[in-house]
């Protein structure tokens, strides 16, 4: 009888120990998710800040371009694209921060992982948008400073960037749809 009680006690201790270990591991995993999300947000935020500085400089550069320049139409088109990307980048960065803030309060690790994924991909959208803004303003800089030899490459880089950015956004929408689908079942 005593032997049975002893075995039951050991088993109970074992279960409590394993339970405690699982809780510690889950906490560590959540911490890692928060760190990863915050790291991606920090990188995106730095690029968004660079883009903001580029926009500030761009205002000055615009005054250097003669109004009768044959490239003024293209510059305006470039600025139109830049303004769209800027707005998207700002919104995405905000979305990333919101996603990251929900990781800790998620009811389980699975949901926390999904919030982390949303935060990371949103950071990617923000980062890509900020880079496109910077590339667009390099075109303005090249026109303003007569760097005509670099115009073709920057133009091509901008077109490719816009195509790649649309891929980023397409995949972000796909991530959102797949996660939403998972929880609607």
């Amino acid at each position: 009888m005593k032997r049975q009680s002893c075995m039951a006690l050991i088993l109970a201790f074992g279960l409590v120990f394993i339970g405690g270990l699982s809780v510690v591991q889950a906490d560590e995993a959540i911490d890692q998710l928060v760190n990863d999300a915050n790291e991606s947000i920090a990188i995106a935020a730095a690029e968004v800040e660079e883009a903001r500085i580029a926009i500030e400089n761009g205002k000055q550069l615009m005054t250097q371009i003669p109004t009768d320049s044959e490239l003024i139409g293209e510059v305006k088109q470039m600025l139109f694209e830049v303004s769209k990307e800027w707005e998207l980048a700002i919104n995405a960065l905000e979305g990333a921060k919101q996603g990251a803030s929900k990781i800790v309060s998620a009811s389980n690790e699975e949901i926390a992982r999904d919030y982390k994924l949303l935060a990371t991909v949103n950071s990617g959208v923000a980062l890509a948008g900020a880079k496109v803004v910077q590339t667009g303003l390099l075109f303005v800089d090249a026109v303003a400073n007569n760097k005509t030899e670099s115009l073709d490459i920057i133009r091509m880089a901008m077109q490719d960037s816009l195509a790649a950015t649309s891929q980023v956004r397409f995949n972000y929408e796909r991530v959102k749809a797949l996660i939403a689908e998972k929880y609607s079942k």
């Binding site: 699975e110 992982r113 999904d114 994924l117 990371t120 991909v121 990617g124 959208v125 980062l127 890509a128 880079k131 496109v132 910077q134 590339t135 390099l138 075109f139 800089d141 090249a142 760097k147 030899e149 670099s150 490459i153 920057i154 880089a157 901008m158 490719d160 960037s161 790649a164 950015t165 891929q167 980023v168 995949n171 972000y172 796909r174 991530v175 797949l178 996660i179 689908e181 998972k182 079942k185």
Partner: protein, 197 residues
Amino acid sequence: MKKQQFIKKVTLISIVTIMTTLLQAQAVNMAEASGTLAGIAVMAVQAKANLANAASSGDIDAIADAIKRADAVDSAMASAQEAYSKMERASAGNDEDAATAAADDLEVARQNAFDALNGEVPEPTPQSKHDQWKEGQKNTGGGPGRAYDPPNIYDVPWQTEGLRGFYQGLFGNFWGASSHGGGHQYHGGHEYDATPE
């Protein structure tokens, strides 16, 4: 009897729980794969921005390097998209091995894109001696130690119409008699069906 019913119910609930978990895991994998694809596209944007920066600086070497890196990232992006499509098809067909293999390919593509952007641009894998030998056997037109490919009869070095017609006729008859062209015969540039119908 009641015990048996209880066991059946427990088994059913277990199966439903396991299936739900598996389906959720699958959805997570695809969502994560989409996230990886988005990440590679972000690297493509970064590579183009680096190229634009290099162009703005006017440094020829920097431009050449940036072009090389941007191309390598684009190539990785193409591989990643291919891997994602494979993963989608495998998931739809419940082929877990193929889905895992495609997920591995996607990870390789992500690593290649990362390397192309930040470190060494992946060079094409050097050919082994066996591969070099195999490559040497292709379309060589013969020669010592090399495979013999029949010459292109439409590119006869003699520029006379007669000889060209003769060789083309020979080829047409040969083709018509073969299993590929069976049923068709070549008669001076006109083809006839094997049967009057």
